[in-house]
């Protein structure tokens, strides 16, 4: 080897390092995400350095402050016009800062905030050895039923790690609907999924069931991530880029230069279709649409109920956000191919969720299937492919999150000796024992059923209207029919609560601390306000319905 060649090699190396530009990061515009993730890291340090006694308070304080600050940042960005006129793509094309992103991030943050309150609830379970306990295992690592578990309980340990874990999940969810290239999408997915798998496993009661749920969720989630990743690879082969804008340009055929390294694959429609299908499968798994819904009932049932509420609301918002952006920004040119498929998915999701829910005997499983049916309703709005469709979906997600969190918060209140009494037969006569709790739960059920004057109706009307205007009339009819089926099982629960005689050994309703009361109160307030006077929020969703590209 001659000295010259070595020299040129070095020179080339030197040149190319010089050519890597310094990434330009708009820290202010990414501040909502950065605040939450930073607080999550701080939370890990709190776990390490703060004495056990103070951890709970430190963590709750940190989480609440972080979420509030992050929400304030969102509001500031939106007020600064980043949702409309100044919408653009930040962080070198990785993250979009636009209306839908800000709206969904705001929804996720508010939903997370009220969920954190239920995480922090410590008055429901009876005190164990003089220590107040929450819904989470004393020490997640100890084997259920072992001596180590007993000693952990005796020592009054609590799993305060749930707060930083939840913050990490929220951070990932904030990025997910804003991700503007496929790799960011994937990373965000993993960042919010991994903490969720863990959170599912740390229930205080019924620990084996909780761990089983976590394993199921993890395995199926890993599968769906693999699908997503494979799809990303195929789309990269098709477009020569992972950036949304570039892929969209290739799909539309407006790119003529072909990357020589990808000459064999670029523009190959087979790669596009298969890749898009796989990515959609990965996202539909997260929203819990049929046929990718199998994990939902088991995980919803096994996870600690506060986590279930958080997951059911925030994950759904984030995943639908990502789905919307993918379909509206990357694949609008392909809509004649994906619309029929999504039609079919929406129909089976609505009907499947509603019909299977009828046979459920566990309240958490029932709500899980109901969430599947709702995913179908939201998909009907996604299919509209109009700005109205986007705003309808945004509005629906906003209303739905609070109903869901509120409903699961009520579930945490109804308890017997074995913890939460989730079997439906135990809810018989609840309306006689505790009229207020039963009435609140009835409001949530009526909202799920889409009865007028609740947010559920306004949301359902918005998505169905958008779908009808987008030419999906038959979908609306199916949606209406499955709403009727769904109404049946919501009403069955109401019948049980109000018209059945209470059983002698029935559950008691625990009196919660102001934390859970806040959660439920916010849920009821949002449900009624969005039902009676939704105009302001519809306007907000309308302004936020344009994607940046």
């Amino acid at each position: 080897m001659s000295a010259a060649s070595v020299h040129s090699l070095w020179t080339m190396g030197a040149d190319s390092t010089a050519k890597i530009p310094t990434p330009h990061i708009e820290y202010a515009q990414l501040s909502p995400v950065l605040i939450v993730l930073g607080a999550a890291c701080l939370g890990v340090l709190v776990e390490a350095f703060v004495p056990r006694k103070g951890r709970y308070y430190a963590q709750v304080f940190l989480a609440v402050v972080a979420l509030v600050a992050s929400f304030a940042a969102i509001v500031a960005l939106a007020a600064g016009g980043y949702g409309s006129t100044k919408a653009h793509i930040a962080a070198m094309g990785a993250v979009a800062v636009d209306g839908p992103a800000l709206f969904l991030q705001g929804t996720i943050l508010l939903a997370s905030l009220v969920s954190i309150f239920t995480f922090a609830e410590r008055r429901l379970d009876p005190e164990a050895h003089g220590n107040r306990v929450d819904s989470f295992a004393a020490q997640a690592a100890s084997v259920p039923g072992s001596e180590s578990e007993q000693s952990a309980v005796k020592a009054g340990f609590t799993t305060t790690e749930v707060f930083p874990l939840a913050l990490f999940a929220v951070g990932g969810m904030l990025v997910f609907p804003a991700a503007n290239d496929l790799l960011t999408l994937f990373i965000a997915l993993e960042v919010f999924s991994l903490p969720l798998y863990l959170l599912c496993a740390v229930a205080r009661r019924k620990r084996l069931m909780s761990q089983e749920a976590a394993v199921k969720y993890f395995l199926l989630g890993a599968f769906s991530s693999a699908f997503l990743l494979f799809g990303i690879a195929l789309l990269y082969g098709y477009a020569g880029s992972v950036s949304y804008a570039k892929i969209a340009a290739v799909v539309e055929g407006s790119v003529s230069t072909i990357d020589p390294a990808l000459a064999d694959t670029m523009g190959n429609d087979a790669l596009l279709l298969i890749g898009a299908a796989m990515i959609l499968a990965g996202l539909l798994f997260k929203v819990g649409a049929v046929p990718f819904h199998m994990w939902t009932p088991d995980v919803y049932q096994g996870a600690p109920t506060p986590v279930t509420g958080f997951m059911a609301a925030a994950t759904k918002v984030a995943a639908f956000g990502a789905l919307l952006r993918l379909l509206y920004v990357v694949l609008p040119g392909l809509r004649w191919d994906w619309r029929p498929v999504m039609w079919a998915v929406a129909i089976v999701t609505m009907l499947g969720g509603a019909i299977v829910a009828i046979t459920q005997t566990d309240i958490k499983r029932l709500l899980a299937y109901s969430s599947i049916a709702h995913a179908g309703f939201i998909l009907a709005g996604v299919i509209a492919t109009t700005p109205d469709g986007v705003s309808a979906v945004l509005f629906y997600l906003g209303g739905y999150s609070f109903v869901t969190i509120g409903a699961f918060a009520v579930v945490t209140l109804v308890r017997d000796a074995g913890g939460e009494a989730t079997h439906l037969s135990k809810w018989a006569g609840l309306g006689r024992r505790s009229p207020l709790v039963a009435a609140v739960f009835a409001i949530f059920l009526l909202a799920f059923a889409g009865i007028p004057l609740t947010s559920g109706f306004a949301g359902k009307f918005a998505v169905f209207k958008a779908a009808a205007e987008g030419g999906a009339g038959p979908l609306v009819v199916v949606g209406v029919l499955s709403s009727a089926v769904a109404a049946f099982f919501y009403i069955r629960v109401i019948v049980l609560m109000f018209f059945s005689e209470p059983k002698a050994d029935g559950p008691t309703v625990a009196v919660p601390s102001p934390l859970t009361m806040t959660t439920i109160g916010v849920g009821v307030a949002v449900t009624l306000v969005l039902g009676v006077a939704p105009q302001y929020f519809l306007d907000l969703a309308n302004q936020a319905s344009v994607f940046v590209r």
Binding site: P452, A462, K465, A468, V476, V480, F488, V495, F499
Partner: protein
Amino acid sequence: MSFPLLTATAALPAVGAIATAAVPAARRTAAKWLALLVSLGTLVLGAIQLVRFEPGGARYQLTESHAWIADFGVRYELGVDGIGVALIALTALLMPFVILAGWHDADPLETHNSRWRPTQGFFALILAVEAMVILSFEATDVFLFYILFEAMLIPMYFLIGGFGDRAHAGGDEAAATQRSYAAVKFLLYNLVGGLIMLAAVIGLYVVAGTFSLSEIAAARANGSLDMATNTERLLFLGFFFAFAVKAPLWPLHTWLPNAMGEATAPVAVLITAVVDKVGTFAMLRFCLQLFPEASKWATPVILVLALISIVYGALLAVGQRDIKRLIAYASISHFGFIILGIFAMTTQGQSGATLYMVNHGISTAALMLVAGFLISRRGSRLISDYGGVQKVAPVLAGTFLIGGLATLSLPGLAPFVSEFLVLVGVFSAYPVVGIIATVGIVLAALYVLVLYQRTMTGPVKESVRGMPDLKVRELAVVVPLIALLVFLGVYPKPLTEIINPAVQHTMSDVQKHDPKPQVEAVK
């Protein structure tokens, strides 16, 4: 801005409902009096509406209009025509009697715990229903109407499922199961109807771009709204289905006998005399006005269904062994007459149908409430458990007879006028239909008189012996209703004067003219 009379009429019972629900558990009686006062206040407001309404004036009067959900094209638009104002008056009129009749229906039993407050709930729910029904008669925005149409199911559902006859209360498991079955059946039937209507409501918005009746009418008049024939028919069917469930029209009627049988008598009156009227009212206001062509297209089928309702309902009423179910089937028969009158598309038919809605409300209320008093004395709904009541409780038997005679449309009592008008209207357009419909009248005489004969006449049954006659509270319920029946039977003019102009408007909507009387020239 003038005083929002229409809003106030609906808002008073709504506020009253909340206030009644908030009365402390121990102050049961206060809750009752509050509910009664509120319903009387609403009656006053309804009467003011009736006075301020000018029969010769604009089609919709006392109108109010405010922005509500601009994004859905929805405004809070109210206005009453003659039909609406008459039905509001009926609703407001019946409510005090319903409340008075149900005075003790929801007293808590010893076994209930102290936090369960059935009395407050019962009266609050009744007032809530009143508020929603009144507002739905006032709504001139399709969406607003739809919301109320659906939302009123929820309080009704709790009224049917939560409160049964006193005889069954106290842990009679079977009765509770039946009651909850009836409530669920009521809700599911109506909810399915409502959801199908929702699809049509959305469809209407896609086609018309607005929900305002006046805007749609204007767009239709200047030709900017031109529905395709098939679209109009589908939308019509979506709307009509919901109203036919509510009305109820055969074969969608099966929830009514269950609901009326299991509910307490005042609640049964609420169902059939008030809430169901929303269905027939909506046929007149929405089906005919929004989809005139489709209405004419569907007329033959609807007339046949209405005929089946009349005859089938009457036949089943003849065969009933349960007093309340008998009245329910009689109502189905009468709703057949109302729908027949609406779709005969003649002035007399529609005037008669509207008048019938009012008269049927009053006469059924009278019959059902007296039946309720009877049932509460003996604790049984079976006809065979009674006999010879007129010897023990002559006033009860007498008022029951008058209510029954009104139901069979005896001349001199109010329903006769309306039934006669309906039949005349139908005869002039569809003679054969009119002839078949008269069968209903004959059967009505049968089921009412047989009911009276079996329960009130004959030897005094052991179980009836010592039955007390009507008390003051009960008389206060029955006597005014009977007086009204007689008054409107002799002098229906005040009502017809209000109703007729509205009917003329509807007739011009569907562009129908009364058939010319045909006189065979004498040679």
